[in-house]
Every structure is written in C-alpha cells, then in structure tokens.
Amino acid sequence: MRYGMVIDLKKCVGCHACSVACKAENIPEKEYWWHKVFEIEKGKFPHVTKHYLPRPCFHCKNPACVTVCPSNASYKCEKTGLVLLKREKCIGCKYCMVACPYGVRIYDDEEGIVTKCTFCSQRLEKYEVPACVKTCIGNARYFGDLDDPNSEVSKLIARKRASVLLPEEGTEPSVYYILP
C-alpha cells in the first residue's frame, strides 16, 4: 500500500483551512506550520491569473530526505509508503531540510530536531483521513491508496491527468495535483 493524495487546484479557494486543521491536529503549541498554501500569480495586468498551491509533505516514493539522513531517523514506512521520523534518533543536522526539493521539513529550535507532516499517521491508524483532507471546504483533496488501481485517487490521476511537482527531481511524490 502507498498512501497518496490528489489535490484539485480548480477547487482550492485558498482559505488555508488545511494549514489550520493540520496545526490544530498535530502541532498546536508550536510556532511553525507543517502545511503551507502558496499563492501563485501568473501573467501581467490585465491578463492575470492567480491560483493557490497547498503543500503537505509529498511522501515521495524515492525521498531525498530519507536517502541523506545519516542516522536513519527519517525512514520510509514499507507498509504505508509514508515518510516518517524517529524523533529520538534525529541528531539535528538538518541535512534532510536542505535535501528536500519542496522545502517541506522544518526545524524545531526548542527540541533540536527536524519535524514534518505525517499525513496524520495517528488518524490513519484509526482509518480516518488526514485533517487537511477532512477539513477542506471545497472538497479539493482526495486521499487513498496509489497502489490500488481502483482507488479514487488512482482513477482521478488517470482520468484527470494529474501531475506531480518537479518530476525531474526523481523523487516520485505521492501527492498529485489537478492543475487549474
């Protein structure tokens, strides 16, 4: 099994509820955010378009952050395909932060370790979707098993020609976007 997500950017209204839900679920007491929504503007007046790009961790199939981690604190869960972190093993070298092309990881100054989005693994254990998926007001997010060709996400990826960000990095992200 490989958990994955499809985000339909046509349905994203840029409300940042996903970021807030993520923070409330995972890191309410921290100053930083795991999930971010970027604003992307294209073109010049009067032909301007704007869309939003929500960015969780992409839980790549071939994660650069796991490859570089010297102490195996970052690891790829074989069962779920999630990219997770054994906090007690992290030496705080920040190499994974530098290696991640998407800037997903964040350093916790207080604890001296790197932290990241887990696709709400604690919720997945209870067969619940991640907080960002659950809360999305436009239902722009779909969650499921990428290895199962009949799952909603697999079908969407095929039907809507969803794509990943920076495919040339060779990371093979598990988060797909349906472009606006």
């Binding site: 930083y32 970027f38 992307i40 790009l53 960015r55 650069a64 490859t67 570089v68 981690c69 010297p70 102490s71 195996n72 604190a73 007690e88 093993k89 992290c90 030496i91 705080g92 070298c93 920040k94 190499y95 932060m97 530098v98 290696a99 991640c100 092309p101 998407y102 800037g103 964040i106 350093y107 100054d109 207080e110 604890e111 001296g112 370790i113 790197v114 960000l165 920076l166 990095e169 060779g170």
Partner: protein
C-alpha cells in the same frame, strides 16, 4: 625576557577572553533539551537559520576548517611521505596543525547539531550508508586517527626524552623514556605508513565533504562533480595559507631569526599558493560562466545573487579581490614575494576563503528548485558569531599550547 613573557601573557589573556565569549555563546544553545541548562539558555532559536536556509555560518566554518586541515596534511606530507627533504622542516608543525584544524572544525559542527550527543550513538548503531554525511564522518574519524598516530610517532623521540620527568610525555611516548636507533627507524617507517593512509583518507574525506553538497539535486549551485573537485583544490589553497601564516607568525612572535632554509621554504610555499590560486581562478571563472551560460534553473539565479544581488560585496570584494586576485599578484611579483608579502597574501587568502565557504553554503541554499518558495534569507546571529570567534581563539590557543608542549620547530 620579561618583555616577551608580558606579550605572551597578554596573548593568552586575549585568547581566553575570546574563548569565554565563545563559551558563553555555546551555553546559550547547549546542552539541548532535556539536559539541565543555564539560566540564559535559549536553544537554537538563538541561531539565524531559517526554514529556507537551515545551514548557516557554523556549517561554513566547519567546511573552512576541515577542508583546510586536509590541505595542511597534504602539503606537509611532501616531506615525510613523498621524500622531498626540505619539507621535512615543517613536518611536525604541519601534522600538529592538521590535527587541531580538524578538531576545531568538528567543534563547529558539534555546536550546529541539534543533538550532538546522539551523533556517536546512532552514527554507529543506526548508520545509513547512503548518506554522504555518514561517510564524511566515518572517513574523517579514520583520517583523524591516522593523523594523530602519525603525530605521536613523529614526536616520539622528543616526548620520550621529556618522559623521564613527566608522565604526560611518557604516555605520549607510548611508555618509553628512551628511543633506540632501531626504534627510531621503525617509528619512521610507521609514520610513513600512517602518512600515506592519512593522505588517502584525507583526500577521500575532503571530497566527501564536497559530496555532502554535490549530491543534492535540490540545490543547483552545489549539484554535480565540480564541488568535490573544487573542495580538493581549495584544500590546497587554504592549507598552504595556514601553514605559511603559522610558520611566519611563530618566528615573528618568538623573535627567533628564520633560518635561510626555512625562509626559502616559506617563499616556496608562497609560490605554491600562487599556483593553487591561479588554478582556482580558472575554476571559479568557468563555474561562473557555465552557471550563467546555460541558464540552468536555480543555478542561474544563485549566480545572479552572487554577482549582483545580496552577496555581491562578498563575492567581488572578498572572494575575488581580497581572497584571490590581490594575494595572487602579491605572490607573482618577485619584489613583493618576501616573507612579509607571503604572510600578507596568506592572511588575505584565508579571509577570502572564509567568505568563499560562507557564500557557498549560504547562497547555495537561498534559491530552491521549487520556485514557489521565496528566496531564503539568512544572516548570522550574534550568538553564532561569538561561537565562530571563540573557535578561532581556541584554535590559536591550541596551537600556542602545542608550541609550548612539543618541539614543533624545524629539525
């Protein structure tokens, strides 16, 4: 005599003061949670690192020291490994310098790490063989071990003599108080072997530091085989500079007249430095042109930041002018290639090299291949600066201590 000792006391006093500053800065961020902390503990919040630029001046200082350490080792080994007799003059001093340069470098990265105490545990218990940092650590540990063995063997004759009175020297002399000719011969042979191992490991380790950066596809300025190669070249540049600077500084501070052989060697090292700087000019020129010419996404933008953006003063004034061109021309001109000239050129080269490392590490992170993220910003916090100042003071202190404890001078 009393005048010299006042100068010496002042020197040590200054170093202690600066080291105290560094120690204070370290106590602001160390030890990490959950260990007991000082009342003024802030943790790594006190560092200037940002999500976009997590590696700051401590990482670049680490690179500055460890790469220079290899350079010192390589140049020193011309003598007792490759048999160029005149380089034997600086054998002991060079190996000692290489050892302490490496140690100070490790200290810089130790402060930068969030949990250095976990390093040794998980480094061994949970190694990731695909991580360049793991290989870098592994190779440097081995390298340091061989370097220290080499040093112990080189000074054994001296420490054995002093060992009759003091247990400290006797331990360093591996328990002996007298070295027979036979043993001396054997020590020399062993030192030669340790020296060869140190060269191989030093080159491997230094290029692996380059690889720590060069294997990251996400950072276009670093990515590719250029980086490890350039790290090796710059090892020679900074190594030659530190060596000459130290030899000259020691002679000046002790007011000991420099023998003609040493003076010739210092001038020769100056010429070598000029050669390395010349090769660097070729390297940097083509790297710059290649980055711009192909408009490689990310790399082009980073180079623009260096050439005309946030880092332009660092690049043109420090890297190009002070760090490369001025010392290059001082050393090329026969009239300025004096002991004073070589000293000045080495000092300028090192200032430039420090900035080269800083720009490489920091500017290299500012531009992400993921262009949605804004350009990262970083400026070192005062705590980081204090740590760096403290480390340099500690470096000088260690060297002074070494001069007092061992006979490092020319044979």
């Amino acid at each position: 005599m009393s005048k010299v000792s006042i100068r010496f006391v002042a020197w040590i006093g200054l170093l202690l003061l600066l080291m105290l500053l560094g120690l204070y800065a370290i106590s602001v961020v160390f030890p990490p949670h959950p260990f007991p902390q000082t009342p003024w503990y802030e943790g790594q919040v006190a560092f200037g690192g940002t999500p976009e630029v997590p590696w700051g001046i401590l990482v670049s200082t680490y690179v500055f020291f460890v790469v220079a350490g290899t350079g010192i080792c390589l140049i020193t080994s011309f003598g007792h490994v490759f048999g160029v007799t005149r380089y034997k003059l600086i054998g002991k001093r060079g190996v000692f310098l290489a050892v302490i340069t490496l140690i100070v470098g490790f200290m810089a990265i130790g402060v930068e790490l969030g949990h250095p105490e976990r390093l040794m545990i998980y480094f061994l218990l949970s190694p990731n063989f695909s991580s360049p940092i793991w290989w870098m650590g592994f190779l440097y540990m081995l390298y340091l071990a061989f370097l220290i063995s080499e040093f112990i063997l080189l000074i054994r004759e001296d420490t054995a003599k002093k060992g009759q009175k003091s247990i400290f020297y006797r331990i360093l002399a591996l328990g002996s108080t007298e070295i027979s000719e036979e043993e001396k011969e054997r020590d020399h042979r062993l030192a030669h072997i340790a020296g060869i191992a140190a060269i191989i490991l030093g080159i491997s380790a230094t290029s692996t530091v380059g690889a720590v950066f060069a294997l990251l596809k996400a950072k276009p300025l670093w990515y590719g085989p250029y980086t490890p190669t350039y790290f090796l070249l710059s090892a020679f540049v900074s190594g030659a500079a530190i060596l000459t600077l130290t030899i000259i500084a020691v002679h000046w501070s002790t007011k000991e007249k420099m023998g003609s052989k040493v003076e010739e060697l210092v001038i020769e090292l100056g010429k070598l430095l000029a050669l390395f700087l010349g090769v660097s000019i070729v390297f940097i020129t083509w790297k710059t042109i290649a980055s711009l010419y192909g408009s490689i996404p990310g790399e082009y933008e980073t180079m623009q930041l260096l050439l005309r953006g946030d880092y332009k003063i660092n690049f043109w004034i420090f890297e190009v002018l002070i760090g490369t061109l001025i010392p290059f021309f001082i050393l090329l001109n026969r009239r300025t290639r004096t002991v004073t000239g070589v000293f000045t050129a080495s000092l300028l080269t090192l200032v430039g090299m420090f900035v080269i490392r800083y720009d490489f590490v920091v500017a290299g992170q500012t531009v992400s291949v993921f262009d949605v993220i804004k350009h990262g910003v970083y400026s070192p916090s005062h705590v980081e600066m204090f740590v760096v100042i403290g480390l340099f003071a500690f470096y000088a202190f260690l060297y002074t201590l070494g001069e007092k404890l061992f006979t490092l001078g020319e044979e």
